[in-house]
Symmetry: C2
DNA sequence: CACATTGTATAAAACGTTTTATGTCCTTAA
DNA sequence: TTAAGGACATAAAACGTTTTATACAATGTG
């Protein structure tokens, strides 16, 4: 553990040299053909294990290709095969917020890097992309082999675009307006909601309410749906508040100040962590005891929830699993196999002081 | 804020249909040419604002292209222009660790998503890639327009590869063995180290020591160098410990248990946050008072440092700025302009209870 | 001996662009 | 009337592959 390997290799490298002067010419399939004294078709066949070549020439070609350090050009190959070996990752929540720099929202970063790592594991290059319907997207945006769409919105135009072009995609979450679509993976948001409601009830809450985000993605929609169903079954008057996701802590503080005390809720399930933090903050400011007078829980665990005082009860999500599921579903579609989805993951509710009486 | 816009568009989409049956044929430049009754060359010229066309035909072509929804194929264009509009992002620390799933290390995720967002802002598609010298990398890996190499190692083979092929790149951090290279951006790690040492001295430390990671990147190398220089100037015996980065909290605990109490250091600057947490944990376990008997600080701020008890003093880095600097340097090289780097950012030292006596 | 079959290898078309090299028509100057 | 030039448009080459169609032996069959 203390050993220190100083592996400074003393390569002399042309560093920072003006690269323009002499363009290093690529070694192409023609070079290999010339070196091996065969046609370029033979080279292609040998390297791809196709065609009808004798074992001898096959080996000879592979050897010379290796010798002169040939590597097929990805673009030329992609053009011909119409397969590039790369997939796009589009996060519709970020698109909707119109803001790609979100300090403190580690969930988005996490999703991107997890999907990237998983894609690489399967030999696919991950390309992060913005709203595919945008005007000035990178040229490569629509040339990839498939797409993972994170948090599609209801009636999402990006999905429509991909459908029209018959480009394979899979979603994390689903488009609430497309009931028949099957290639999606998600946390079981409805079930999570029920866990929270049952917990609230056991802790003595009579009038639990829901605070969801504004955007019409499956996370918000399924949760609200589950909440309303639960209310109906329990004979409870449902009470749903909708707040712009980007309003953050301040937004929830504003909401609470407007609400309290006319409103007679005694438990709030705030889907986004920062809204939950805002509710707790505002409540304490107004002298409302949490959890004494008001129970609070949130739908996505995070540092913000864990380190708030009191610590906020939260649904602990499974980003790694859900990302892996989505990627499997995408690859399935890329290979034109029948969709095996949707795939749901059960999330675990972590009760903390914000919703534990006594 | 409470308004709820339900924008369910009632598009009927062919969802989940077997895409293979009828391959939707792409609209190509030939289709546009036919529709506008001109040659494909004319279309290309019109759409790229080149060639010698009358204003009239130019506009006519653009209109028809728009009308039939033409978009140039990125691969064909890339093949011809040898420019794809995409850049690669390679994190050598992750490569070295051989592990791309690092729970709790938000810094790496952060770098990836920040670089991605910045690249997109400039119209470049970001592609996350593993070690470019690897055997089974995605085909596209070496076909991009340029590369950002995060934390290159001393004598890094990836840089050598890029140099040989004369592919533009810029680094975050630098290769310690390549003094003349200029296209890199970084935190001013040497200066950060001095800030910590001066702080230790002011707090009464006599024998400050350094705990660095094993890998030979500029972060570790510059810090150690600065530390040794400072020690020499102060007439202090330098004391450097090297620990594998991936050993995490447990690694640092093990180190401390082996070290203490023969070792007579009274302040430790642990570069990585999890090592600092390990030191603090092990110290408290052995009844060593922090900061009473031992001062601790770390070189990269994080949740782990902030929420440790006592909270750990830390260097607060500027990932956004450094990423932006690196991207600027890369674009500079892609446009064959003279390198304007290196660019250093001064980080701020945040003293917390772990190193504040009284 | 004629004819089909098999085993190897190649020529050439195709992928969808960009760009260079030609061309045609029209105007102007000699 | 002819040459020279300008304005506009196109044909064709090129980018580097993959793949289809074709060629040419050598071998087997009736």
């Amino acid at each position: 553990m203390f050993s220190r390997v100083l592996q400074i290799s003393l390569v002399t490298r042309k560093k920072g040299c003006r690269a323009a002067v002499v363009k290093a010419k690529k070694t192409t399939i023609h070079d290999v053909a010339k070196a091996a004294n065969v046609s370029i078709a033979a080279v292609s066949f040998a390297l791809n294990g196709k065609g009808t070549l004798s074992q001898a020439t096959r080996e000879h070609i592979i050897a010379t290709a290796e010798h002169i350090g040939y590597q097929a050009d990805a673009l030329a190959r992609g053009l011909r095969r119409s397969r590039l070996g790369a997939i796009g990752i589009v996060n519709r929540s970020l698109d909707l917020l119109g803001e790609y720099f979100l300090p403190g929202i580690d969930a988005f970063d996490r999703t991107i890097s997890t999907l990237s790592a998983l894609a690489l594991q399967r030999g696919l290059a991950p390309v992060v992309l913005p709203d595919l319907t945008g005007a000035s997207i990178p040229a490569i945006s629509l040339a990839l082999d498939g797409y993972i769409i994170v948090s599609p919105q209801s009636g999402d135009p990006v999905l429509e675009l991909l459908d029209n072009r018959e480009i394979p995609y899979a979603c994390i979450g689903f488009d609430p307006s497309q009931a028949g679509f099957r290639s999606w993976a998600s946390e079981d948001d409805a079930e999570s909601c029920l866990q929270v409601m049952e917990h609230f009830r056991r802790q003595g809450a009579q009038h639990p309410s829901l605070l969801r985000g504004e955007s019409e993605n499956s996370w918000n929609v399924s949760s609200e749906q589950a909440y309303r169903t639960w209310c109906a079954a329990q004979g409870v008057q449902p009470q749903v508040h909708v707040l712009d996701e980007s309003s953050g802590v301040a937004g929830a503080v504003g909401l609470f100040d407007k609400l309290w005390p006319q409103n007679k809720t005694d438990a709030i399930y705030a889907m986004t962590a920062r809204h939950a933090v805002g509710i707790v903050t505002a409540a304490l400011d107004q002298g409302v005891d949490v959890p004494g007078e008001l129970l609070v829980a949130t739908g996505s665990d995070s540092e913000a929830a864990r380190f708030s005082r009191p610590a906020i009860s939260a649904i602990q999500l499974n980003p790694n699993e859900v990302c892996a599921d989505a990627l499997n579903l995408l690859i399935e579609r890329m290979e034109e196999r029948e969709p095996s989805g949707p795939v749901l993951r059960r999330a675990k509710f972590r009760p903390r002081s914000s919703s534990l009486r006594r």
